[in-house]
């Protein structure tokens, strides 16, 4: 019994990481109806940037966020202005194929630069620290921090979306691009800002990924799929939904892994397909995609 409770708690905490994968994806889909197939590879790129910064400056991995987050935001802005804005339009094909091409480029570029060896960031004693809840239950300090950061990210995104001028611009272009332009918004700039925010979240997720687990250049697509499954299960357009979706995915994977190590990923996909079969609009839908 205690064992299962422990497993579920671990799953919930991993779900926070998946929610961060999902939040960036959900944000840009909400603002410009773009699905970024390179999203997972950008997470891995952020993880490698964290490695370079951490090893180059000899600082704690969590401190590398100070550099990696603005850097990824800058990359996001440039990527959107330079390439992705050209692909937006009524035709679905160009953005999909261009981001698919980007995904392959990032993956193979990382492979050239860092080889296929798997890496991991050492965060020091905090890695093994844990908090005992009594009755044999214990949660790792690092997973707990990560989960708290995930919630903070979602609260921050929610606040930005509904309380700030930037969020108003995002919502306006999301509702009607033409009218948003009529009232003086520069869509190209707004989209680029949305991508910058998305990749800032990606950067946070990437750094935590690098500290939590081994990673190599090929794991991007799986991260994209986790984020995507969390978005769809949570319901399009709902930030809190992505957290619930991420937690469902994390718990399903944890339970699957407990039954048979080969079932970890499969259990997550099965949970996703079940939600899709029973409730295709997700659990907390906000926009009709």
């Amino acid at each position: 019994m205690m064992e299962w409770l422990n497993i579920i708690i671990q799953g919930v905490l991993v779900g926070g990481l998946y929610a961060m994968f999902a939040a960036g994806l959900s944000l840009i889909f909400g603002v410009m109806r773009l699905v970024n197939i390179a999203h997972g590879d950008l997470i891995v790129l952020a993880a490698y940037l964290a490695v370079v910064v951490t090893e180059g400056l000899g600082i704690n991995p969590l401190l590398s966020l100070v550099i990696v987050v603005p850097l990824m935001a800058l990359i996001g802005y440039a990527l959107q202005r330079g390439i992705l804005n050209q692909t937006l339009g009524p035709d679905l094909l160009p953005p999909l194929l261009v981001t698919f091409g980007l995904s392959v480029i990032i993956q193979n570029g990382l492979l050239e630069l860092f080889t296929a060896d798997s890496r991991r960031l050492q965060a020091g004693p905090i890695e093994v620290a844990s908090i005992h809840l009594g009755g044999g239950l214990a949660v790792g300090t690092l997973p707990l921090i990560q989960f708290a950061v995930a919630i903070a990210v979602i609260v921050a995104l929610q606040f930005m979306f509904y309380r700030t001028a930037l969020g108003r611009a995002f919502r306006a272009t999301s509702d009607d691009q033409a009218v948003a332009q009529l009232v003086g918004l520069d869509n190209r700039h707004v989209f680029a800002l949305a991508m910058a925010v998305s990749l800032a979240v990606v950067a946070i997720a990437g750094v935590f990924l690098a500290v939590r687990a081994n990673f190599d250049p090929a794991i991007g697509p799986a991260r994209l799929i986790f984020g995507f499954e969390a978005v769809i299960m949570g319901g399009l357009g709902s930030m809190w939904g992505t957290l619930v979706g991420g937690i469902i995915l994390g718990v399903a994977q944890a339970i699957g892994a407990q039954i048979d190590p080969g079932w970890q990923l499969l259990a997550g996909h099965v949970a996703f397909l079940l939600v899709l079969a029973v409730r295709p609009q997700g659990l907390f839908p906000k926009v009709q995609g």
């Binding site: 109806r33 773009l34 194929l97 261009v98 091409g101 480029i105 697509p221 996909h269 397909l273 995609g289």
Partner: protein, 360 residues
């Protein structure tokens, strides 16, 4: 009857005919016929390496043509077609090893099973709109890959080789087998291209072209877009599974990672189609030629080669979205295969009807 009588308007009612062929497409068909004879005779003039390379070439043209039908014509952008390549491969190995089916019979059965699996899969992933459909197809391919690695009778995660008894049942000597597999690859490619050609010439083709150009307009003219897309999805799965089964009959070994490889069966296929010209039947052929030419010169560069291919595909998508073939079509009005529908006016005929222009 009203007092004011309106003189019936005499108007010209032209007799029209829809034509498919153009001079360039007549040349194209003649060339294709001659090429087919030369290629069918390849075992007489080519070495082992040539046959192997050509068979691989046919496989990529077939896969790219099928993906082109799906994405370029039906607007179903899948990044998960490796699901059906791998499914076809695993069905072939399962039927021959576990059920004792002859490999040549297992090939069409792989297609049938691929199509049967595609129906419920479509039922699920067609719920995902537009962009999210693409990632949904990827999830399905991942699920297939993970499931295949759970089949311990087929070697689990490390895969299995085709036992020698089954290999010799295809042909007693190695040369006989290689010739047979070569001809099968050519025959399957011709069948795939022929089927796509006939589909596009049928009323489904007209519906597909209408959906491709403007789905809303097509729907409002009575095209059941969802049904047409479902038909295309299932037909594509059928073809992709057969091609996958043949590719792995040639390789003689299957494993989850090779059979469901996203790079080999989706990234390459997408880049081939985009570079050659998406939404045109000729595109995949041109794209595969470019792909193989680049590969023969850059193959040893490995990941750098994929990186460059990705960059070229992005550049083509941004600067010439209709690809190499689309560029030639726009520039010179070429078409190799008689697919377009051109309205030609045969002879003007004067008529005195004017019933719909009569009493106003």
């Amino acid at each position: 009857m009203s007092a004011t009588h309106v003189e019936p308007a005499t108007h010209v009612d032209p007799v029209t005919r829809v034509e498919h062929t153009t001079p360039s497409s007549r040349i194209g068909v003649a060339l294709a016929g001659a090429l087919l004879v030369v290629l069918a005779a390849a075992p007489a003039w080519g070495g082992r390496q040539d046959l192997h390379l050509l068979a691989e070439f046919y496989g990529y043209v077939a896969l790219a043509s099928l993906w082109n039908l799906l994405a370029g014509y039906a607007g179903l952008v899948s990044v998960g077609q490796q699901a059906y390549v791998g499914l076809g491969a695993y069905v072939l190995f399962a039927l021959t090893i576990l059920a004792g089916v002859h490999p040549l019979l297992a090939l069409p059965l792989a297609g049938v099973i691929g199509a049967l699996v595609a129906v419920p899969v479509a039922g699920l992933i067609f719920r995902l709109r537009g962009h999210y459909f693409a990632i949904g197809t990827w999830v399905v391919a991942e699920v297939f890959r993970l499931l295949s690695s759970q089949i311990s009778a087929l070697g689990g995660g490390s895969g299995i080789s085709l036992p020698i008894g089954i290999v010799t049942s295809v042909g007693s000597s190695r040369q006989a087998r290689e010739f047979l597999i070569y001809w099968l690859a050519l025959a399957i490619l011709v069948a795939v291209l022929g089927a796509i050609f006939l589909l596009l010439r049928s009323r489904y083709g007209l519906a597909l072209t209408a959906i491709r150009d403007n789905e809303l307009a097509a729907r409002s003219n009575g095209v059941d877009a969802t049904r047409v897309k479902l038909v295309v999805y299932v037909v594509t799965a059928f073809g992709t599974a057969i091609v996958g089964a043949l590719i792995f009959l040639q390789k003689l070994r299957v494993s989850p990672d090779t059979a469901f490889s996203v790079n080999d069966w989706t990234a390459f296929v997408i880049f081939i189609t985009v570079i050659g010209g998406i939404g045109r039947l000729e595109g995949p052929l041109i794209g595969t030629i470019v792909f193989f030419a680049l590969r023969e010169t850059l193959a040893e560069r490995g990941s750098l080669y994929l990186l460059m291919l990705g960059a070229v595909a992005i550049a083509v998508m941004l600067k010439a979205p209709k690809g190499i073939w689309g560029f030639f079509v726009a520039r010179f009005g070429w078409q190799l295969l008689p697919l377009e529908r051109r309205l030609t006016i045969l002879q003007p005929r004067r008529s005195k009807g004017g019933s719909d222009h009569g009493n106003a």
